[in-house]
């Protein structure tokens, strides 16, 4: 096998999600001469991003204080109505606000597509000189002789199922960095290898996860109120924990989804079917009827929070 080509950078970032893009932008803001590259496995930035989302602007405010005036699509729909429903088989009642104070009120938040927000962040990053390579997956971690992280290798292209090389075969490249940042999001494939190696999990509880399944609908304008966000609990889930969300976003669309925590015990449970059943509840159906589903997807969520944040720093990496 021929030597792989290699490219040196100051900083290598794996993943163009909000974490990776924010890191890249911040580095370039503080130190414009630092070379930064981002690898993204999706065909373009945003192609693999799936979220709700109701976004607390704290992060954007800190990173790009005038984001609202810079065309960030998240500014389109400020949250102005926040409801929390408990569903029974046929009915619903609202969870009184005083039980979910301050912290959960979504005050000052925005609702929109996180994928589009990432596309906008990527534009800001590129304007600052960050190189972004969409369509390149980081497949392996490279280590220095002393065991520290040296960078990553991008996946080979054009390998057949049986391992043979197809005519369009292209060997992966080594991307070297003084520091490598793994921002793969929940359950990263490389991050998973790093955890045991650097004992990142040693002092914390096992991470627990949920699966979030999401659909995007164009709904009947009569049923749409931009900025209304609804969370629901209760029906139809009885064998698992979780709940639904329904966010009225810009352009007459609602983003709706259902989260099932993956600590469920009955193997006959189907998060997908729970979601489909949830939509048939009279209160949800009322909103969707006459509308059209335009997109679908799913992504794991990490609900572990504080007890599961592994040790963050390890040699050569974040």
């Amino acid at each position: 096998m021929s030597e792989r080509e290699s490219m040196p950078y100051d900083v290598v970032i794996v993943g163009a999600g909000p974490a990776g893009l924010s890191a890249a932008i911040r580095i370039k803001q503080k130190s414009p001469d630092t070379s930064v590259v981002i690898l993204e496995k999706g065909s373009e930035v945003g192609a693999h991003i799936l979220s709700g989302a109701v976004v607390d602007p704290k992060g954007l405010d800190e990173l790009i204080p005038d984001w609202r005036d810079q065309g960030c699509p998240m500014a389109e729909a400020p949250v102005n109505d926040n409801q929390h429903w408990i569903l029974t088989k046929k009915g619903k009642y609202n969870l009184p606000h005083f039980l979910t104070p301050g912290f959960m009120h979504n005050k000052g938040t925005y609702t929109g597509s996180l994928g589009n927000m990432c596309r906008w962040l990527a534009q800001q990053a590129e304007n600052l000189g960050v190189e972004i390579f969409p369509g390149f997956a980081a497949a392996e971690i490279l280590y220095n002789d002393d065991g520290s992280v040296k960078g990553v290798v991008t996946g080979d292209m054009g390998v057949a199922k049986d391992g043979s090389h197809k005519p369009d075969y292209m060997q992966g490249m080594e991307i070297h960095g003084k520091y490598t940042l793994f921002a793969e999001g929940v359950r990263g494939h490389l991050t998973k290898q790093l955890k045991p190696k650097f004992a990142l999990d040693a002092d914390c509880q096992p991470q627990v996860y949920g699966i979030g399944i999401k659909e995007l609908w164009d709904i009947n304008p009569e049923n749409h109120t931009t900025g209304r966000v609804i969370h629901s609990q209760g029906w139809p889930l009885s064998d698992a924990n979780g709940g639904g969300f329904l966010y009225h976003q810009a352009n007459g669309q609602v983003a709706l989804g259902f989260v099932v925590w993956l600590n469920y015990s009955n193997p006959f449970l189907s998060p997908f079917e729970e979601m489909q059943r949830w939509k048939t509840h009279p209160e949800i159906r009322k909103i969707l009827e006459g509308g059209k589903r335009v997109s679908y997807g799913a992504r794991a969520i990490s609900d572990g929070g504080f007890q599961s944040v592994p040790k963050l720093a390890f040699p050569g990496v974040h």
Partner: protein, 218 residues
Amino acid sequence: MPRIKGTHTAMKSGMLAADAIVDALAAGRANDELTSYQSGYENSWIYSELRMVRNILPLVEKYGNFWGTMLSGINMWLENFGVRMPFTMKHHADHNALRRKDHVHKIDYPKPDGVISFDRLSSVFLSNTNHAEDQPVHLQVKDSELQLSSELNIFAGPSTRYCPAGVYEWIEEEGKEPQYQINSQNCVHCKTCDIKDPNQNINWVVPEGGGGPNYPNM
């Protein structure tokens, strides 16, 4: 759902890492441990925010959805005033949670109506998922014997239900050993199989770059 919510905390952790890297590079360092990242994290608002919600999930797990939420609501309400529950409850790993198929009840789901509710395949279609054909399967089953003896025979094939893209199928034919079929071209990269397989026998690795869903605005 509590407002742990991730996007702003993901951004903040990215910025904290950036700060630590910029300082380290300015000091001429490379490839070492960024301890200032850990301490930056502990001093930031992410730490206090996640600390505030740290008991929500375990409470819900222990007391069920409704009362768990009530309790965690109260817990959070107290924490807003600086009153902390004196204990931190423990988490358990998700893949250990499944029970044997003969110890649980079956669940009947209604058929999709094609108007409000749909089946898996018409759903995956809307994710514009695409993988280059003829490439090594990126969902690696480490021990296929175990998949049959445990995933199917003990746990009734949960992957056929938890996968939101219909990637996993057990094909059963008269007089033949059940075959595990993996439609990897449909995978939307959610990572649930990597998390929930009861034996941690499925390893998700990256497929060829550019493959996967093509979400327009999700």
